[in-house]
């Protein structure tokens, strides 16, 4: 292999090995190289405590058990570790056991599942809701359940893999429009005029933290008679006056045809859900494989999620705390002249540039200083904009944020400014 460090996971998808149970020969050569192994030290590091902002990790960097400020968790509102949520989960566990022990259609639907689905539909101002055991399964399952061969799925180019995989599984023709570019979207809709078309966008884009231009997207969908699917994985419970998400934020919830959300991010549990009109949900239950061929979500988790929804929506305390913290972090980072891309949310990238080596070196140093902030490398993001990605959280204290900002300034800002 010419220069081993020029390669990435993007280069080994196709496998020519005559032994179907073995990866490509050059993949083995690549992944065993000491410099590549160094990058992989950051993956699958073991947390030894709950996903609070103050946590402990068994470091992949040096093998030490270390106290860290965790700025990478999706526990945006702290609901995963909220005492009332934990108690509700324990109560459900005592009453229902660990597993639903069946697919939803046969024996896996409990009264708890019906209750959560009903509450989520009401919360999202939609007629009905279908629950999935994972967020990825929800997006994939919705695409696969709604679309057929010959249909068109028009996606923002920064859409999550689960939407793309769902489109592939459905056999739909996929067209990607330039990120948040309405002219590009219109060109795609012009091409697909008269066909069955679903436009899929995300409320908050997960690697950049910017928002969908929902009013414009919605107007184009109306003009071209396309369905509108909004993935609110990173916006539900956080955006909008009542936390209902990006549709509420822009005041056009009634324009959203299908609203998808995860239960693993702000909700603090695991799973996914799709809200829409009752007829479509009924139809999905017939054809969406991750729903009808998978065990239903754990009743213990569902018990906790019902409480999480209640805690997050009974008042705005957690949301207000989250946004106060996000403002504080963002202002602190901007004062260091760091490139935060176009963030408008709790997802705050710190864009480092094209050097994977610099990214990994900084990642190692900040972790040894006590900050858990994961590097995001190509191909997850473009090669010229490798980055760190901060997840703001309502759990953060001012002391934790000050400490984290100090580490970022000492390690990342100093390095980037000295090299520029």
């Amino acid at each position: 292999m010419a220069n081993i460090l020029d390669f990435s996971l993007a280069d080994f998808f196709y496998n020519d090995n005559s032994d179907v149970l073995s990866p490509p020969d050059d993949f083995e050569e690549w992944i065993s190289h000491p410099r590549v192994l160094e990058s992989f030290r950051f993956f699958e590091q073991q947390f030894l405590e709950a996903p609070r902002t103050d946590s402990r990790v068994l470091s992949g960097v040096d093998g030490e058990k270390r106290k860290v400020i965790n700025l990478t968790s999706y526990n945006y509102l702290g609901l995963s570790t909220h005492p009332e949520v934990i108690q509700a989960t324990k109560d459900a566990l005592d009453r229902y056991g660990l597993s639903a022990s069946g697919a939803p259609l046969l024996s896996g639907t409990f009264d708890l599942h019906i209750k959560l689905a009903k509450k989520l539909a009401e919360f999202k101002l939609q007629e009905d809701c279908i629950l999935y055991s994972s967020g990825l399964g929800g997006n994939m399952g919705a695409m696969q359940g709604i679309l057929r061969k010959g249909d068109f799925l028009v996606l923002d180019e920064k859409s999550h893999k689960s939407l793309v995989d769902g489109g592939t599984l459905a056999g739909a023709k996929m067209l990607f429009f330039d990120h948040n570019d309405m002219e590009s979207l219109e060109q795609m809709l012009e091409k697909t005029k008269g066909k069955r078309v679903l436009v899929a966008v995300e409320g908050v884009y997960s690697m950049d933290g910017d928002l969908v231009k929902l009013p414009e997207v919605s107007a184009l969908c109306e003009a071209y008679n396309a369905g509108l699917y909004v993935d609110e994985a990173h916006s539900t419970l956080m955006f909008g006056e009542n936390g209902r998400g990006i549709g509420e934020h822009f005041g056009i919830e009634e324009k959203v045809g299908v609203s998808f959300g995860t239960l693993s991010k702000a909700f603090g549990g695991v799973g996914g859900f799709v809200c829409s009109n009752a007829k479509l949900i009924r139809y999905l239950k017939g054809y969406s494989s991750p729903w009808n061929f998978s065990c239903a979500p754990s009743p213990a988790v569902v018990g906790g999620l019902i409480k999480a929804l209640e805690v997050a929506t009974r008042d705005s305390t957690l949301r207000d705390r989250l946004w106060k913290n996000v403002r504080y972090l963002t202002e602190g980072l901007r004062a260091m002249n760091l490139n935060l891309g176009g963030t408008e949310s709790q997802v705050i990238p710190i864009i480092i540039g094209s050097s994977g080596e610099t990214l990994m070196q900084l990642a190692s140093e900040i972790q040894q200083r006590g900050l858990f902030l994961q590097p995001v490398d190509f191909p997850a993001v473009p090669a010229h904009s490798r980055r760190f990605r901060i997840s703001g959280s309502a759990q953060l204290t001012k002391e934790e944020m000050d400490k984290a900002l100090n580490i970022i300034e000492d390690v990342i800002a100093k390095k980037l400014h000295s090299s520029s």
């Binding site: 010419a2 020029d6 993007a10 280069d11 020519d16 023709k173 067209l175 990607f176 190509f378």
Partner: protein, 82 residues
């Protein structure tokens, strides 16, 4: 291998992977996007062509390529190096 032969390989893979594209209508000065390819289709065409040409180029080196002709130049650079 000549550049024309490399362009032939790429064109054949475009025909095999995209709907409604005829071999003779493909202009190397255009992009695969012009023929209706999305990013997944492009990866498919590039990967199949590289396998056929027995070369391997990191994806990061392909990011700035503007059209089929430039892709052929990059492929030739690696094919000549083999």
């Amino acid at each position: 291998m000549t550049k024309d032969q490399i362009i032939d390989v790429i064109k054949q893979n475009i025909v095999d992977n995209l709907d409604d594209v005829e071999y003779d209508q493909i202009d190397p000065q255009k992009t695969m996007k012009d023929y209706g390819a999305n990013s997944l289709d492009m990866i498919e065409v590039v990967s199949c062509s590289m396998r056929e040409l027995n070369i391997k180029i990191p994806r990061t080196e392909l990011a700035d390529i503007k059209n089929i002709d430039e892709l052929a130049d990059k492929f030739k650079e690696y094919a000549d190096g083999n």
